[in-house]
Protein backbone atom coordinates (compact mmCIF):
# COMPACT_ATOMS: atom_id res chain seq x y z
CA UNK A 1 0.00 0.00 0.00
CA UNK A 2 2.70 2.43 1.00
CA UNK A 3 4.75 1.49 -2.07
CA UNK A 4 1.71 2.16 -4.25
CA UNK A 5 1.30 5.56 -2.74
CA UNK A 6 4.97 6.29 -3.20
CA UNK A 7 4.83 5.27 -6.87
CA UNK A 8 1.84 7.50 -7.44
CA UNK A 9 3.69 10.36 -5.79
CA UNK A 10 6.67 9.78 -8.04
CA UNK A 11 4.44 9.70 -11.11
CA UNK A 12 3.00 13.06 -10.12
CA UNK A 13 6.48 14.43 -9.59
CA UNK A 14 7.94 13.13 -12.83
CA UNK A 15 5.19 14.12 -15.24
CA UNK A 16 5.22 17.86 -15.87
CA UNK A 17 2.03 17.63 -17.94
CA UNK A 18 0.02 16.25 -15.04
CA UNK A 19 -0.50 19.45 -13.14
CA UNK A 20 -3.35 20.20 -10.80
CA UNK A 21 -6.72 21.12 -12.34
CA UNK A 22 -6.75 24.94 -12.74
CA UNK A 23 -10.45 25.19 -11.92
CA UNK A 24 -9.91 23.34 -8.65
CA UNK A 25 -6.88 25.50 -7.89
CA UNK A 26 -8.83 28.72 -8.24
CA UNK A 27 -10.41 28.53 -4.80
CA UNK A 28 -7.14 28.24 -2.94
CA UNK A 29 -5.48 30.84 -5.18
CA UNK A 30 -8.33 33.20 -4.32
CA UNK A 31 -7.77 32.45 -0.64
CA UNK A 32 -4.10 33.29 -1.05
CA UNK A 33 -5.03 36.58 -2.72
CA UNK A 34 -7.27 37.32 0.25
CA UNK A 35 -4.36 36.72 2.64
CA UNK A 36 -2.46 39.48 0.86
CA UNK A 37 -5.09 41.93 2.06
CA UNK A 38 -5.84 40.39 5.45
CA UNK A 39 -2.34 39.64 6.72
CA UNK A 40 -0.08 42.32 5.25
CA UNK A 41 -0.19 44.60 8.32
CA UNK A 42 1.55 44.00 11.64
CA UNK A 43 -0.64 42.46 14.36
CA UNK A 44 -3.16 41.07 11.85
CA UNK A 45 -4.06 38.32 14.34
CA UNK A 46 -4.44 40.63 17.34
CA UNK A 47 -1.52 38.93 19.13
CA UNK A 48 1.38 40.73 17.45
CA UNK A 49 1.72 38.70 14.25
CA UNK A 50 4.29 39.75 11.71
CA UNK A 51 3.03 40.67 8.23
CA UNK A 52 2.89 38.00 5.56
CA UNK A 53 5.24 39.08 2.78
CA UNK A 54 4.10 39.17 -0.83
CA UNK A 55 6.98 36.85 -1.81
CA UNK A 56 5.71 34.24 0.65
CA UNK A 57 2.28 34.41 -0.99
CA UNK A 58 3.92 34.02 -4.40
CA UNK A 59 5.86 30.97 -3.18
CA UNK A 60 2.66 29.46 -1.79
CA UNK A 61 0.98 29.99 -5.17
CA UNK A 62 3.92 28.31 -6.93
CA UNK A 63 3.55 25.39 -4.54
CA UNK A 64 -0.18 25.07 -5.26
CA UNK A 65 0.39 25.33 -9.02
CA UNK A 66 3.03 22.60 -8.79
CA UNK A 67 0.60 20.11 -7.24
CA UNK A 68 -0.04 17.19 -9.59
CA UNK A 69 -3.35 16.65 -11.33
CA UNK A 70 -5.92 15.13 -9.04
CA UNK A 71 -4.30 16.25 -5.83
CA UNK A 72 -6.87 17.27 -3.22
CA UNK A 73 -7.09 21.02 -2.83
CA UNK A 74 -5.76 22.52 0.40
CA UNK A 75 -7.19 25.49 2.25
CA UNK A 76 -4.96 28.49 2.79
CA UNK A 77 -4.20 30.31 5.99
CA UNK A 78 -1.49 32.17 7.82
CA UNK A 79 0.51 31.86 11.01
CA UNK A 80 1.61 34.62 13.38
CA UNK A 81 5.26 34.29 12.28
CA UNK A 82 4.35 35.32 8.73
CA UNK A 83 4.24 31.84 7.24
CA UNK A 84 1.49 30.89 4.80
CA UNK A 85 -0.20 27.61 5.60
CA UNK A 86 -1.70 25.09 3.21
CA UNK A 87 -3.87 22.57 4.99
CA UNK A 88 -5.31 19.23 3.94
CA UNK A 89 -7.95 18.46 6.52
CA UNK A 90 -9.93 15.24 6.50
CA UNK A 91 -10.61 15.04 10.24
CA UNK A 92 -8.95 16.16 13.45
CA UNK A 93 -6.57 13.20 13.35
CA UNK A 94 -6.09 13.02 9.60
CA UNK A 95 -4.67 16.34 8.71
CA UNK A 96 -1.57 17.87 7.15
CA UNK A 97 -0.37 21.43 7.51
CA UNK A 98 2.45 22.81 5.35
CA UNK A 99 3.96 26.19 6.23
CA UNK A 100 5.56 28.13 3.40
CA UNK A 101 8.18 30.25 5.12
CA UNK A 102 9.55 33.63 4.00
CA UNK A 103 12.96 32.02 3.52
CA UNK A 104 11.74 29.44 1.02
CA UNK A 105 11.39 26.45 3.31
CA UNK A 106 8.43 24.14 3.77
CA UNK A 107 7.75 23.15 7.38
CA UNK A 108 5.16 20.43 7.66
CA UNK A 109 3.33 18.44 10.33
CA UNK A 110 0.73 15.72 9.96
CA UNK A 111 -1.52 13.65 12.18
CA UNK A 112 -2.40 10.31 10.59
CA UNK A 113 -4.42 8.40 13.12
CA UNK A 114 -2.00 7.23 15.78
CA UNK A 115 0.98 8.21 13.63
CA UNK A 116 2.47 11.62 13.20
CA UNK A 117 5.10 13.19 11.00
CA UNK A 118 6.88 16.50 10.89
CA UNK A 119 9.88 18.02 9.21
CA UNK A 120 11.32 20.61 6.84
CA UNK A 121 11.97 20.48 3.10
CA UNK A 122 13.45 23.12 0.82
CA UNK A 123 11.15 24.47 -1.88
CA UNK A 124 12.70 24.72 -5.34
CA UNK A 125 9.49 24.82 -7.36
CA UNK A 126 8.50 21.15 -7.12
CA UNK A 127 6.39 19.63 -4.38
CA UNK A 128 8.66 17.32 -2.37
CA UNK A 129 7.72 13.64 -2.64
CA UNK A 130 7.60 13.36 1.16
CA UNK A 131 4.78 15.92 1.23
CA UNK A 132 2.95 14.27 -1.68
CA UNK A 133 3.02 11.03 0.26
CA UNK A 134 1.52 12.70 3.31
CA UNK A 135 -1.23 14.31 1.18
CA UNK A 136 -2.15 10.90 -0.19
CA UNK A 137 -2.23 9.41 3.31
CA UNK A 138 -4.53 12.15 4.61
CA UNK A 139 -6.81 11.62 1.63
CA UNK A 140 -6.73 7.79 1.76
CA UNK A 141 -10.18 6.21 1.91
Amino acid sequence: MICGILLLGEAWMNNPVMKSDPTVQNKVLDELDALTKECSSPNWDGYGAVPVQSQTIKDAKRFVEALPLGTPTPSAGAEPDGHVTLEWYHSSRRTLSVSVSPDGELHYAALLGASKAWGTEPFFGDVPSSILLLISRVDAK
Binding site: E31, V50, A76, G77, E79, T85, T95, L111, K116, W118
Partner: protein, 132 residues
Protein backbone atom coordinates in the same frame (compact mmCIF):
# COMPACT_ATOMS: atom_id res chain seq x y z
CA UNK B 1 -8.68 34.82 41.26
CA UNK B 2 -7.01 38.22 41.02
CA UNK B 3 -7.57 39.03 44.70
CA UNK B 4 -5.15 36.31 45.81
CA UNK B 5 -1.40 36.62 46.36
CA UNK B 6 -0.68 34.04 43.71
CA UNK B 7 -3.01 32.45 41.21
CA UNK B 8 -4.19 28.92 41.95
CA UNK B 9 -2.45 26.21 39.96
CA UNK B 10 -4.20 24.99 36.85
CA UNK B 11 -5.99 21.67 37.30
CA UNK B 12 -5.79 19.02 34.60
CA UNK B 13 -9.50 19.19 33.89
CA UNK B 14 -9.64 22.98 33.53
CA UNK B 15 -10.66 24.46 30.21
CA UNK B 16 -8.43 27.10 28.66
CA UNK B 17 -9.62 29.50 25.97
CA UNK B 18 -7.51 30.83 23.14
CA UNK B 19 -9.39 33.78 21.70
CA UNK B 20 -9.57 33.78 17.92
CA UNK B 21 -9.13 37.20 16.36
CA UNK B 22 -8.56 36.07 12.77
CA UNK B 23 -11.50 34.81 10.74
CA UNK B 24 -9.75 31.96 8.92
CA UNK B 25 -8.71 30.13 12.08
CA UNK B 26 -12.14 28.73 12.89
CA UNK B 27 -13.63 26.00 10.72
CA UNK B 28 -17.32 25.55 9.92
CA UNK B 29 -17.34 22.14 11.63
CA UNK B 30 -16.63 23.75 15.04
CA UNK B 31 -12.96 22.87 14.92
CA UNK B 32 -10.02 25.24 14.87
CA UNK B 33 -6.94 25.42 12.68
CA UNK B 34 -3.60 24.67 14.33
CA UNK B 35 -2.40 28.08 13.12
CA UNK B 36 -4.22 29.56 16.14
CA UNK B 37 -1.86 27.72 18.52
CA UNK B 38 1.48 28.78 17.04
CA UNK B 39 3.27 30.82 19.74
CA UNK B 40 4.59 33.94 18.07
CA UNK B 41 5.99 36.54 18.62
CA UNK B 42 6.17 35.44 22.25
CA UNK B 43 7.67 32.14 23.34
CA UNK B 44 4.42 31.39 25.21
CA UNK B 45 0.82 31.00 24.15
CA UNK B 46 -1.62 33.31 25.94
CA UNK B 47 -4.86 31.69 27.16
CA UNK B 48 -7.73 32.48 29.55
CA UNK B 49 -8.87 30.07 32.22
CA UNK B 50 -12.57 29.23 32.39
CA UNK B 51 -12.37 28.46 36.11
CA UNK B 52 -14.40 30.65 38.42
CA UNK B 53 -15.98 32.89 35.81
CA UNK B 54 -19.20 32.77 33.86
CA UNK B 55 -19.53 32.31 30.12
CA UNK B 56 -20.51 35.97 29.86
CA UNK B 57 -17.40 37.06 31.78
CA UNK B 58 -15.24 34.84 29.59
CA UNK B 59 -16.55 36.45 26.41
CA UNK B 60 -16.10 39.86 27.98
CA UNK B 61 -12.42 39.11 28.60
CA UNK B 62 -12.12 38.08 24.96
CA UNK B 63 -13.84 41.25 23.84
CA UNK B 64 -11.50 43.31 26.02
CA UNK B 65 -8.52 41.58 24.39
CA UNK B 66 -9.94 42.37 20.95
CA UNK B 67 -10.78 45.97 21.82
CA UNK B 68 -7.27 46.57 23.13
CA UNK B 69 -5.66 45.63 19.77
CA UNK B 70 -8.14 46.66 18.19
CA UNK B 71 -9.41 43.54 16.41
CA UNK B 72 -12.56 41.55 15.82
CA UNK B 73 -13.36 38.68 18.17
CA UNK B 74 -14.53 35.76 16.04
CA UNK B 75 -14.61 33.02 18.64
CA UNK B 76 -12.49 31.00 20.98
CA UNK B 77 -10.73 27.65 20.95
CA UNK B 78 -11.29 25.71 24.16
CA UNK B 79 -8.77 23.09 25.16
CA UNK B 80 -8.41 21.09 28.35
CA UNK B 81 -5.25 21.76 30.36
CA UNK B 82 -4.40 18.07 30.34
CA UNK B 83 -4.12 18.12 26.55
CA UNK B 84 -1.22 20.57 26.82
CA UNK B 85 0.56 18.92 29.75
CA UNK B 86 0.37 15.55 27.98
CA UNK B 87 2.50 17.14 25.25
CA UNK B 88 5.09 18.19 27.86
CA UNK B 89 3.93 21.79 27.71
CA UNK B 90 3.46 23.68 30.98
CA UNK B 91 0.66 25.97 32.01
CA UNK B 92 1.74 28.95 34.10
CA UNK B 93 -1.08 31.04 35.60
CA UNK B 94 -0.53 34.76 36.01
CA UNK B 95 -2.17 37.26 38.36
CA UNK B 96 -2.93 39.74 35.61
CA UNK B 97 -4.88 40.01 33.46
CA UNK B 98 -7.80 38.24 35.11
CA UNK B 99 -7.79 34.45 34.71
CA UNK B 100 -4.78 34.58 32.43
CA UNK B 101 -2.26 31.79 31.89
CA UNK B 102 0.58 31.06 29.51
CA UNK B 103 1.21 27.74 27.83
CA UNK B 104 4.99 27.48 27.94
CA UNK B 105 7.75 25.03 27.06
CA UNK B 106 7.39 25.22 23.29
CA UNK B 107 10.27 23.81 21.24
CA UNK B 108 12.21 26.42 19.27
CA UNK B 109 11.95 24.79 15.85
CA UNK B 110 8.94 25.30 13.63
CA UNK B 111 8.10 21.69 12.65
CA UNK B 112 7.91 20.60 16.30
CA UNK B 113 5.83 23.66 17.16
CA UNK B 114 3.49 22.69 14.34
CA UNK B 115 2.99 19.11 15.47
CA UNK B 116 2.14 20.31 18.98
CA UNK B 117 -0.26 22.88 17.53
CA UNK B 118 -1.90 20.12 15.46
CA UNK B 119 -2.28 17.97 18.58
CA UNK B 120 -3.90 20.82 20.51
CA UNK B 121 -6.18 21.73 17.61
CA UNK B 122 -7.25 18.08 17.28
CA UNK B 123 -8.79 18.10 20.75
CA UNK B 124 -9.86 21.74 20.93
CA UNK B 125 -13.42 22.87 20.40
CA UNK B 126 -14.14 26.03 18.47
CA UNK B 127 -16.89 28.24 19.87
CA UNK B 128 -17.92 31.05 17.53
CA UNK B 129 -18.67 34.40 19.11
CA UNK B 130 -22.39 34.42 19.90
CA UNK B 131 -24.51 36.83 17.90
CA UNK B 132 -25.48 39.88 19.93
Amino acid sequence: MTDQASPPPVADDELLARFVLYSRWGRADQSVKPDAFIPHPYPDLSVTRHAGISETELWQIGQDVADERPATLYGRADVQALAATKLSLRIVPTLEPKNHANITGWPPDKPRQKILALELAAVAGYVPMPAL
